[in-house]
């Protein structure tokens, strides 16, 4: 291996090791430490000057106390379960909204497609925080939606949507919609229309051709889209914090509060370690899926 190659590989490799992998090691270490009234607020801290004996003493002080604490307090496991539930339901809802849109885009006249594509991508470039915030003005008690519904006479009293789980679902579907549309659209666009014609020639009705040909061929895009929504939704913080209520339990919010309000670094780290353990399976599956598609394209 020559020096130049070593440098080209070495620079991004070292950066990711230092700023991505090492931090996780620290999180795991602190999740095994005890909280302390000190700076930094945990003990023990690693002192390399103590030599081998110091190292041994350091490891003997680590324990699983924080993890035991997480299983004892119902707040944490209900938060994990409720995050899983909210992420699953909103992924399915996003799929339900995104699939017809991606299908419509793929069937649109060719000269429209670039414009439609841009209309999907444009919100993606706009600030995430602002897009979530825009729903606060719509879903509130005196918001735009209630105003319209009252004016139309559909309801007599304003609905309470903001600060409930419904608002969280709407927020997740809204902000992650482009992530679901784009991969589905790219598989549907590549789909050979003559396959559907062939199915229809062979006696399929339009509906059964859709279910037997179009849907199975769109699976890679659907799978990629679902992972792209489910994984970030599970650890979501901004949406439950701005649109959810006090009873909306999501683990991202719990971690945030543990860190910023309670200043309990070891428990916050333990919460992060378990969240990561839950996420590692979908993340690996997602990477396998991407790898397979990459190899299929080549």
């Amino acid at each position: 291996m020559n020096l130049r190659r070593l440098i080209v590989i070495g620079i991004p490799f070292t950066w990711l090791l230092l700023f991505f992998l090492v931090p996780f090691a620290i999180v795991i270490k602190i999740s095994l430490s005890d909280p302390a009234i000190a700076i930094p607020p945990y003990s023990p801290t690693l002192e390399l000057s103590g030599g081998w004996a110091g190292l041994k003493a350091f490891f003997s002080q680590l324990d699983f106390e924080n993890f035991t604490f997480l299983t004892l307090d119902p707040l944490y496991y209900t938060a994990y379960l409720s995050s899983l539930k909210i992420a699953t339901i909103s992924t399915l809802l996003t799929l339900g909204v995104a699939f017809p849109m991606a299908y419509g885009m793929a069937r649109a006249p060719e000269e429209w497609r670039a414009t439609l594509m841009m209309l999907v991508i444009l919100p993606f470039w706009t600030s995430f925080l602002i897009r979530v915030y825009s729903w606060m003005g719509i879903l509130g008690k005196e918001g735009f939606l209630n105003m319209i519904l009252l004016w139309l006479g559909i309801i007599d009293e304003p609905l309470t949507i903001l600060n409930t789980n419904t608002a969280v679902y709407i927020g997740i579907v809204y902000t992650y919609l482009p992530f679901m549309i784009l991969p589905i659209y790219s598989t549907l666009e590549k789909l050979d229309l003559s396959l559907i014609e062939a199915a229809e020639d062979l006696g399929c009705t339009r509906t059964s051709a859709f279910w037997l040909v179009t849907v199975p061929l769109s699976v890679p895009g659907v799978v990629a889209g679902c992972f792209l929504v489910f994984i970030p939704a599970l650890g979501e913080f901004v949406i439950p914090s701005l649109l959810g209520g006090s009873d909306t339990l999501m683990i991202g919010k719990v971690l945030w509060e543990e860190f910023f309000s309670n200043r309990d670094w070891p428990v916050a780290s333990a919460v992060a370690v378990i969240l990561l353990a839950i996420l590692i399976i979908p993340i690996i599956l997602f990477q396998r899926n991407q790898q397979k598609q990459l190899e299929g394209d080549q």
Partner: protein, 269 residues
Amino acid sequence: MKKLSWFNLTTLTLGFAFLYIPMIVLIVYSFNGGRLVTVWAGFSTKWYGTLFHNEAFLDAAWVTIRVAVATATLATILGTLAGYVLVRGGRFWGRTLFSGMAYAPLVMPDVILGLSLLLLFKVMFGSMGMTTIILAHTTFAMCYVSVVVSSRLLSFDKSLEEAASDLGATPFDTFMSVTLPIIFPAVLSGWLLAFTLSLDDLVIASFVTGPGATTLPIKIYSAVRLGVSPEINALSTIMIGIVTVGVLTASLINKRKVVQRLKDEKTAN
């Protein structure tokens, strides 16, 4: 090409209405004269005026832009290298680990990235500020750049690089005079992507920020937690406006290039 069926037309109309109505409502209400967000009190631009006299917002905007420019530049260099290594790097020790690390930040929840980087920076530097935000943003933004660059590298004709090295170019010369010009549009969109990601981030910045390094999203978040405010509506409208103009310009330039290429091909034939 046949026309769109009424079913597809309806889903597309409803879908895009869902995507755009919240932003349109927000923009319209930013021109509302009253303090109450829902009661229309006549057209006015006064909230834009108060916004431009709000020192705290202006300071935060300036910090955010400096962080975003530094992040985008660093992330583009590192991400282009990473994308190049992933596609052209061949086999090396730790390749699987490397590609795992290059993809994982794309899907890692912000709260975990933020917390872990904060703990690292506490050990490394002790204090936080703009530098730590830049380092943190670069780490996740470079992965996006690497994805954009590596997909461009995958789709271009490798024989061009081979031709250059057959003609005696060193790998470095080949990269600079053949590879880089071809992947340049991807590098540029990587820069823009990294820039917007940095501009947009609230969670990671909240963890690794320090005194004097309040970014715009941190400022907006602390303001909107209390509810909707016309000033934030005005600020959001400006931000949406800038992004829209940027994306439209980029796509127009792109379109003109495609049209030009088609013309060139026609005359060549």
